[in-house]
């Protein structure tokens, strides 16, 4: 067996994450089921019946029932939330508590293998949860186009557009003190103001323009178009491009902060 044959690859580290996932997949899948059920029941059915009665299937929702409007938005928003969870404490833990990254760094794996492996695992988690979400949406009758099967992929992209820069930031932290501030005052407002619950055109112009910059708005638009089968191609390509660009930028940033942290 040639010594020089060691070629570090992210896939070697992905095996670790999958093995670790095997220990918790049941709980994690259950959460993936319950959370869309709760949201769609409460907001889609409960709130939706009110909205539909008041507005009718009005112009403002693009001619959609509230449930059909809301569900794909929540799909993207849920992916964002999950991705942020996966890229805060687990990443800090990799450096500090579980020291998973440190164990990997002592092997031939390079910092880029280590972070790409973790990102791949996060993408896997978010994609899986998003497909479960889509299944629940379908059960609620909130899917009206076969293209919807692509929506979870877009939701995962939306999630990763958050996860990669978040992980890059977390790699510069020595403790989790700022994390709840970050979720509460950065992520939560995006959840509330980026077109998940109502079209951003309802907002004052300034807020609307800010919403356009948030990755989650692009994710919401993509998921909604795919789930309802009503989108303009070039606009969708633009959303995709925006998310992919953010993921690339986040990954490059993470490459820097991970390398600094791992070899300090």
């Amino acid at each position: 067996m040639g010594r020089a044959a060691v070629v570090p690859r992210p896939r070697l580290a992905i095996e670790y994450w999958l093995l670790a996932y095997r220990r918790r997949w049941k709980g994690s899948l259950l959460t993936s089921f319950l959370s869309p059920i709760l949201f769609l029941a409460a907001m889609g059915l409960g709130l939706g019946s009110l909205v539909d009665a008041e507005v009718g299937s009005g112009r403002d929702l693009g001619g959609l029932d509230y449930l059909d409007f809301l569900a794909p938005g929540l799909l993207a928003g849920n992916a964002m939330m999950l991705a942020v969870n996966e890229s805060t404490y687990p990443v800090l833990g990799g450096f500090k508590w579980y020291r998973t990254y440190m164990a990997m760094a002592a092997s031939p794996l390079r910092s880029r293998d280590i972070l790409l492996a973790h990102f791949a695992y996060m993408a896997f988690r978010v994609t899986l949860a998003s497909f479960v979400f889509l299944g629940v949406m379908a059960a609620f009758g909130a899917v009206s186009s076969p293209l919807a099967v692509l929506a979870p992929i877009c939701a995962a992209l939306c999630g990763m557009a958050f996860a990669t820069p978040t992980a890059a930031f977390v790699a510069t932290r020595t403790n989790g003190d700022n994390f709840s501030t970050y979720t509460r005052f950065v992520i939560m407002p995006m959840f509330l103001f980026s077109g998940i619950f109502y079209p951003v055109s309802q907002l004052p112009v300034v807020l609307e323009q800010i919403a356009w910059l948030t990755p989650v708005w692009h994710g919401v638009r993509l998921c909604r178009a795919l789930s309802t089968g009503s989108g303009v191609e070039w606009e969708l390509a633009g959303h995709l491009g925006y998310l992919v660009a953010l993921i690339l930028a986040g990954t490059l940033l993470a490459q820097q902060t991970f390398t600094r942290r791992l070899y300090e």
Partner: protein
């Protein structure tokens, strides 16, 4: 002094290194060092943790780093393990430069970090498996090697148990097994036996001995003098980022210590007794000044140095019989004569006890 490119010391081969390709023309005796460092430096912000140290480790050797807490041992070990970038000086490991070939170097090292980083949720065997996969070892190879290593560190019965509830000693042994999964040429052990009970420590030492016999080069740090004396062919003592002494355990004792130590116990009045002893030491000729480091040629002095501890006074001497004969004049509880140990060297060099 800034981190100037660390040249080799005068009188040593230009590269002193594994891959010297000028062997034929080199005017100096060529030595094949597995690890060589010149002026190796590590700074954290303004703080200098490792302050320009030079050392070389030869193939098959067990090389130790001793030093008080914060001396810079782990910082050095991490640089050797290619998980910490040096801030100055030069480092060659297996003839390669860690800043450019970290991956290739690491593929031939096994590292036991000071702080365990096992995955506590996974089982004992799974920990070995995933780590082996980081080295791209095929599953079939791993299966056999895991069984062999678990046997080697006596954890076969716990193979399928989760790691979290294992005892500290078991975790340490598992970490050592994990470091061996890739059949490394060099094993780095940062305090391999700290926190273990005497039994577990002996198991670890015995395993390290076996590895030494198999020709695995080992670099270790320790706070246990007996560990260093038993395992290390050569060692350096570090203090505040610098190397303050280097040699084999025997050489160090000869160079920095007297042959014997007379321990005089007292009833809790060490200071008064130390004074009396000092007068005793002064009687023949000039007082035995506490000159640090290298000791001069032995003289007629009764003892060379005295070390005052709360309950006793240690007298370092080459003439224990003469000294004992004179002790009658000093009030004391009991006397013990013993050979000097590495611990005495350590106390002398660093001015404090190892485990503080």
């Amino acid at each position: 002094m800034q981190s100037e490119p660390a040249g080799p010391a005068a009188g040593v081969c230009c590269r002193s290194s594994y891959d010297c390709n000028r062997k034929a023309r080199c005017p100096y005796p060529h030595r094949v060092s597995l690890i060589a460092a010149w002026g190796l430096t590590k700074r954290f912000g303004d703080f200098t943790a490792v302050d320009g140290i030079d050392f070389e480790v030869q193939r098959g050797e067990v090389f130790g780093f001793l030093g008080p807490n914060g001396a810079g041992k782990s910082s050095t070990m991490r640089m050797i393990g290619c998980v910490s970038d040096p801030t100055g000086g030069a480092l060659r490991i297996l003839g390669m430069d860690p800043s450019r070939e970290g991956t290739r170097i690491r593929s031939r090292l096994g590292a036991v970090p000071q702080q365990d980083n096992l995955d506590e949720e996974l089982s004992v065997a799974e920990n070995l498996y995933v780590y082996g996969r980081y080295f791209d070892l095929p599953r079939s190879v791993l299966r056999a090697r895991i069984a062999e290593l678990l046997d080697f560190v006596q954890l076969t019965e716990r193979a399928d148990d989760q790691v979290e509830p294992l005892s500290g000693g078991m975790k340490r042994r598992l970490t050592i097994a994990r470091a061996l999964i890739s059949d490394p040429e060099v094993l780095l052990l940062d305090e391999p036996s700290t926190g273990l009970d005497p039994q577990a420590r002996h198991v670890v030492w015995e395993r390290l001995w076996t590895l030494k016999r198999r020709g695995v080069t080992q670099v270790l740090t320790t706070h246990y003098m007996d560990e260093a004396e038993q395992l290390c062919d050569r060692l350096v003592v570090m203090d505040r980022g610098k190397i303050v002494a280097e040699g084999s355990p025997r050489q160090l004792i000869e160079r920095y210590c007297t042959r014997e130590v007379v321990e005089v116990r007292t009833h809790g009045q060490a200071a008064a007794m130390a004074d009396a002893l000092r007068r005793l030491g002064e009687s023949p000729e000039a007082p035995a000044a506490d000159t640090p480091h290298e000791r001069g040629p032995s003289s007629d002095q009764l003892y060379e140095r005295a070390e005052e501890l709360p309950d006793r006074v240690l007298l370092y001497t080459d003439q224990s019989e003469r000294l004992m004969a004179q002790l009658g004049g000093v009030e004391h509880e009991s006397v013990l004569v013993r050979r000097s140990t590495l611990e005495d060297v350590f106390l002398h060099l660093t001015g404090r006890s190892l485990v503080d």
